[in-house]
C-alpha cells in the first residue's frame, strides 16, 4: 500500500477537500553518521494522514492534450512513523535503534489534477506539500507589542492635535 486520495476523481466546478493517506512500508536514509562512520538506513511502517484546505476544480481545459492542472492550498498532516535504523557496513546490516514517533506538520501544497476528457472529470494525480515553521511565541509577542506601541502613539498624537485645534 502507498498513497490514496479521497476523492480520487472530481468534477469540473466541484468544491472538495482532499484527504490523502500515505501508509505502508517505509525505507530511506537518514542524515546521521553511525558510531563507526557507516551509512544508516531506515525500515519500518508509516501511517500519515493529510487534509487539504477547500478547493474548487476548474472547468476542463480546451484541447485533449492539456496537461495537469495545479491547485494551491494549505494542508495539515498528522500520523505515525514507526521505524528501525540499521548501520550498513561490509559486515552487513546491524540494528542500532528503533522508534515510534507521532509526527505533525502543516504548510502549503500543490495538488495536481489530471483532466480525463473521456469521462469529463479530473483524477487527483499528486500531492506536493511544503511544511512551514510555526513562529516562536516570543516573536509574535514582540510584533504585537510593536503594533500596540504604534497604535498608542498615533492615537496620542491625534488627540493632541485635536486639543490644539479646539484651543485655536
Amino acid at each position: 500500500m502507498g498513497g490514496t486520495f479521497n476523492p480520487e476523481v472530481v468534477l469540473p466546478g466541484q468544491q472538495f477537500t482532499l484527504a490523502a493517506t500515505f501508509a505502508g512500508d517505509v525505507g530511506g536514509e537518514v542524515g546521521v553518521p553511525s558510531a563507526g562512520g557507516h551509512d544508516v538506513d531506515v525500515r519500518g511502517t508509516s501511517d500519515l494522514r493529510v487534509t487539504s484546505g477547500r478547493l474548487m476544480a476548474p472547468p476542463l481545459p480546451g484541447g485533449a492534450e492539456a496537461g495537469f492542472i495545479e491547485l494551491t492550498t494549505h494542508f495539515s498532516m498528522s500520523g505515525v512513523l514507526d521505524v528501525a535504523f540499521f548501520e550498513v557496513s561490509d559486515a552487513g546490516r546491524h540494528p542500532i535503534g528503533a522508534s515510534r514517533n507521532d509526527v505533525f506538520g502543516r504548510g502549503n501544497a500543490i495538488i495536481l489534477l489530471q483532466p480525463l476528457f473521456e469521462t469529463g472529470n479530473y483524477q487527483v494525480a499528486a500531492f506536493d506539500g511544503t511544511f512551514e515553521p510555526v513562529p516562536e511565541p516570543s516573536t509574535i509577542v514582540l510584533l504585537g507589542w510593536g503594533v500596540v506601541i504604534l497604535a498608542t502613539r498615533t492615537i496620542s498624537r491625534r488627540a493632541a492635535r485635536a486639543t490644539v485645534s479646539r484651543a485655536d
Binding site: 486520495f5 501508509a23 530511506g28 546521521v32 535503534g97 509526527v103 500531492f127 511565541p137 504585537g144
Partner: protein, 73 residues
C-alpha cells in the same frame, strides 16, 4: 484609549497562548516536504529541526522516508 490597549494586549496574550502548544510540539515537521502520487508512492523529506530525542535519540539531522511505491527520495 485605555480600552483599546486592553483589547490589543488581550489579543496578544491569547494569540501567544494559542501558538505555544503548536510551536512546542517536539515532532512537528517545520522544514521539509511531503510528496505523493496516485501510483502509490510518497516521500517525506524532513530537512532539519529534528529534535535530538526523536527516533530513539539517534540525533538525526535529516531524514528521507520513502513510503510504499517506487518513488526515490
Amino acid at each position: 484609549m485605555r480600552t483599546l490597549c486592553t483589547v490589543l494586549a488581550s489579543l496578544l496574550v491569547s494569540l501567544g497562548l494559542s501558538l505555544s502548544p503548536a510551536w512546542a510540539d517536539p515532532f512537528r515537521v517545520q522544514d521539509g516536504t511531503l510528496r505523493g502520487d496516485v501510483n502509490g508512492g510518497a516521500v517525506l523529506n524532513w530537512n532539519g529541526g529534528i529534535p535530538s530525542d526523536a527516533f530513539g535519540g539517534l540525533g538525526l539531522s535529516s531524514g528521507a522516508f520513502t513510503i510504499g511505491g517506487d518513488l526515490q527520495p
